[in-house]
């Protein structure tokens, strides 16, 4: 095995100048480099840094997965690196080419790489047990597939929980023709992630023993006396239901350091610009357990792509990027001043600041810490949008249900409301009245005083490829018990014997994701894009991952056009590992694949 690589903050603090000579961060992830130029996208321009400096291009690529040490600040621990770096090398390819990627596993355990968002034949999708057998220790597996579409994607391990240990990297696919609709002068990749020195399996063990293990932002008697958070009455109502209104994230800044391209706030990853330039930022959330609020205070962002699919440019001031999502934004700083690039964990237990600066050595301001969100009835699956009709506008849960709720079941675990759910200790709650939350501002951003992107703001730039109406629909229930830390779909895990979700090849189906938990779940389907059911048809946003807000629902229309077996799961790594996962099968009608 290779000698473990040691990266620590002390070396990073030597300053950006020293970083340039460090082999440990690939060039694109190094602070203060000049970015890629818009010229990349022209047909004549060769991609910069081809096969050098951590950008891998061409038709033949070699990756080596190996054990490493990684550290951020004073948090260091065992990690998994690709070609000796965390994040893994940038893979930059062009639409229309073919690629062969030979992946060698030098770990003592099995590994794999999944090409997140890339449409590839199922046997190249990289999920052990579905697509292929996995890559055994010492083995080299060669992936080979055509590149059929462009955009911002990423790759990560689909084995164990190696992704949490650093096995993630970006993929950029340049379009066959340059994108004239969203020109830019310079571009950067921002790979957001959470890093913990605690092994993810140990995190899971702690959470199984105590669901709130990492939450140090709970409601307190001290807070009550100061008039913070919920009122006493609300606290009692929630306590009666054994529900914690501060349960925003399972794993928090108590163990995580948040990083952009492997750099924490202190390391201040810096992207350079000249005033007036249009800068394209390709933002990828490669976290294992952290959804981020992303903003650049003082700089509006024009979103031009989501999950690698172009959208009609829409300007916003902040958006929430769920785990596994990608957004491309264009910013145009005119002032010769540093701007803070802020990725804040949605529970606000921490953030990471990078800097967009006219020269090296400047640091963007870190905004004041915002209050940790407190969940509401809507996050519990009670759609109260019609309830504020009374004079007080207050919802009184203490009244009998048939008085305040007009006979609607306000029981928090009425299994008759979700007939597809198998009852058991792993299902603590059933959302009594889940609302379609695709147009909702996400958790914690409901009341901020600037623009916040919602899924409903996204419109595909090109017409959706399949305009048929769905021939059928299915409900997929996201279920959990936070106290026992059990996560499942329809109350079952694959280990419980849950059957695959079958599709006919080419059929169009509406999938209704219903969140019966109080936590958002970024649900990812392999091998396909789907259209979110929001706004007028034809230009609905296409995505590979959709964040289903707490207690709510999100629907997408899927054309099951890729034959094979595919993974379908929550991209919160511990949730997936605990069982919030299914196999999706796509078969030609009446026959095996």
């Amino acid at each position: 095995m290779d000698k473990p690589l040691i990266l620590n903050r002390r070396r990073l603090l030597m300053g950006a100048g020293a970083l340039a000579t460090m082999p440990v961060f690939p060039l694109w992830a190094q602070s203060g480099h000049m970015g890629g130029h818009g010229g990349h996208a022209t047909k004549s321009g060769a991609p910069a840094g081809r096969n050098t400096g951590g950008v891998l291009s061409g038709e033949s690529i070699a990756l080596s997965i190996g054990a490493a040490k990684f550290g951020v600040g004073n948090r260091s621990g065992a990690a998994v690196a690709v070609n000796g770096s965390i994040p893994a090398p940038l893979i930059r390819l062009r639409e229309g080419q073919k690629v062969r990627i030979a992946v060698t596993n030098t770990l003592p355990e099995q590994s794999s790489i999944h090409w997140h968002g890339l449409l590839v034949p199922f046997q190249m999708d990289g999920v052990p047990g579905l697509s292929f057998p996995g890559i055994d220790p010492g083995e080299t597996f060669t992936y080979e597939f055509p590149i059929t579409h462009s955009g911002t994607f990423w790759y990560h391990s689909h084995s164990g929980m190696q992704e949490a240990e650093g096995l993630y990297g970006p993929i950029l696919i340049d379009p066959a023709e340059p994108d004239a609709a969203a020109p830019f002068d310079r571009e950067y990749v921002l790979m957001l992630a959470d890093w913990s020195p605690m092994n993810p399996h140990e995190q899971l063990r702690k959470l199984k023993a105590m669901g709130g293990y990492f939450n140090w932002q709970r409601q307190t008697v001290g807070g009550l006396l100061k008039g913070k958070d919920q009122s006493l009455k609300e606290r009692l109502e929630w306590a009666k239901m054994r529900m914690d209104a501060t349960d925003i994230s399972d794993v928090t800044g108590a163990t995580y350091s948040y990083v952009i391209n492997g750099h924490d706030t202190g390391a201040n990853w810096t992207a350079l610009f000249r005033p007036g330039e249009r800068i394209k930022l390709r933002i990828i959330n490669a976290s294992s357990m952290t959804n981020f609020n992303f903003r650049i205070p003082g700089l509006p962002m024009t979103v031009v792509a989501a999950d690698g699919c172009n959208v009609q440019p829409v300007e916003t001031d902040e958006f929430q990027i769920a785990i596994a999502e990608t957004y491309d934004v264009i910013v145009q700083p005119n002032d010769s001043a540093p701007f803070g690039i802020i990725a804040e964990a949605i529970d606000r237990s921490g953030l990471v600041r990078a800097t967009l600066a006219p020269q090296i050595g400047l640091a963007g301001a870190i905004p004041a810490r915002r209050a940790r969100p407190v969940l509401t009835m809507r996050d519990m699956g009670m759609d109260m949008s019609g309830m504020d009709m009374g004079s007080s506008g207050e919802i009184d849960l203490s009244k009998p249900a048939n008085e305040s709720m007009a006979g609607h079941s306000m029981k928090m675990r009425d299994l008759s409301l979700a007939p597809g759910v198998k009852a058991g200790p792993g299902v603590a709650t059933i959302s009594p009245m889940p609302a379609d939350r695709l147009a909702d501002k996400p958790t914690g951003l409901e009341d901020v005083d600037h623009r916040v992107l919602t899924y409903a703001d996204l419109r595909s730039r090109v017409a959706n490829p399949d305009l048929r109406k769905p021939s059928r629909q299915i409900d997929v229930n996201l279920t959990a018990n936070m106290e026992r830390y059990m996560w499942s779909i329809d109350g079952e895990t694959i280990s419980d014997g849950a059957k695959p979700i079958p599709f006919r090849k080419g059929e169009r189906v509406r999938v209704n994701l219903i969140n019966h938990t109080m936590m958002p779940h970024p649900i990812h389907l392999h091998g396909h894009f789907f259209e979110l059911v929001t706004g007028e048809p034809v230009n609905r946003p296409r995505k590979h991952t959709v964040n289903v807000l707490p207690g709510g629902k999100a629907s997408f229309d899927l054309t099951a056009d890729a034959e094979g077996d595919w993974a379908f799961h929550c991209h919160m790594l511990l949730h997936m590992h605990a069982g919030m996962m299914r196999v999706v099968t796509v078969r030609a009608d009446g026959g095996a694949a």
């Binding site: 199922f122 052990p128 047990g129 292929f132 057998p133 996995g134 063990r205 199984k208 023993a209 105590m210 140090w216 409601q219 307190t220 008697v221 001290g222 306590a239 054994r242 019609g386 309830m387 009709m389 048939n402 305040s404 709720m405 007009a406 006979g407 079941s409 675990r413 009425d414 409301l417 007939p419 058991g424 200790p425 792993g426 959302s431 009594p432 889940p434 379609d436 109406k469 769905p470 021939s471 059928r472 106290e483 026992r484 996560w487 694959i494 280990s495 979700i501 079958p502 059929e507 509406r510 209704n512 929001t534 706004g535 048809p537 034959e563 094979g564 077996d565 590992h577 069982g579 694949a593």
Partner: protein, 340 residues
Amino acid sequence: MRNMMLAAAALMATPAVAQEAQDPHAGHDMSQMQGIDHSGHDMGATGGAAADEQAMEGMDHSMHAQAATDGSADATPMDHSAHMGHTMPTVPDSEVGNAPPPPAPTDHPADAFWDRQRMVQARADLASEGRFFGNALILDRLEYRPRNGRNGYAWQAMGWIGGDIDRLAVETEGDGAFGSPLETGEVRAAWRHALDPWWNFELGVRQDFAAGPDRTYGVIGIEGLAPYWFEVGAHAFVSNKGDVHFRVEAEHDMRLTQRLILQPSVELDAAAQDVPELHIGSGFEKIELGARLRYEFVREFAPYVGVHWERKLGETARLARVDGENPSQLSAVIGLRMWF
């Protein structure tokens, strides 16, 4: 009744509007939305504030066409609509068909590309996804009890190993005074089985090892999390001599600050019969009340101070007095809570 109807109408109207905004068909071609009364939309558009009787009548029907997952069960005033709701689509019928799903296939297409034996093994690994096996050891109390003349100590610890549903749980607790034989001491091992989201069934054995005759008991009980976040346990014990005992205990973590936690606790013991050799009388035998204030430097390490009061009751108390013992004991405690 009228109030109930109003509320229901408002509740149902809003999703209708939300969907209308989302779906052009709903808004533009109402003929596709069978059974929907426009009055529902009108009312929703005004925030539901102006709901009138007409609107309510309309909404009765609109519920049929709306919202599978809006969850309208137990809708006593709305009768039939509740159950209809479950199987109905979340969007207007006109947009989504009701074709049957295909059968789940049993083949494995990856076998055509890769070594079948390796795929079988990989599938077995994938099939274990979601299966948890782990352990925890929590030393809840390890404490010193300074008392006049006879300083005492006590402990209480719990460990488990197993999965989400079935675990082997081992618990031990006891107390005594320095320089004297152990006053109480027991260890329990039980199969712990999750019954529902909050409660576990326990079946096991308990061995006492304090001063006096050692007893072995069979244990049956439940433990879990009650509303308002109370950790509760209730157990019955049947000894190898046939005597039967009961114990109920509860504790609650009151978070004063993020790290400063006050834990009140109570335990009540009872016996179904006199057990002279254990100095226990029939009926309630003992109550223990405690309050411990701990500081969680980390979850795994939390020193505490507090008070512990225990009083023997009824016949058991009388027997204690006969033995020259004070049936009531109050002590300060200083201790440590740890986790592994």
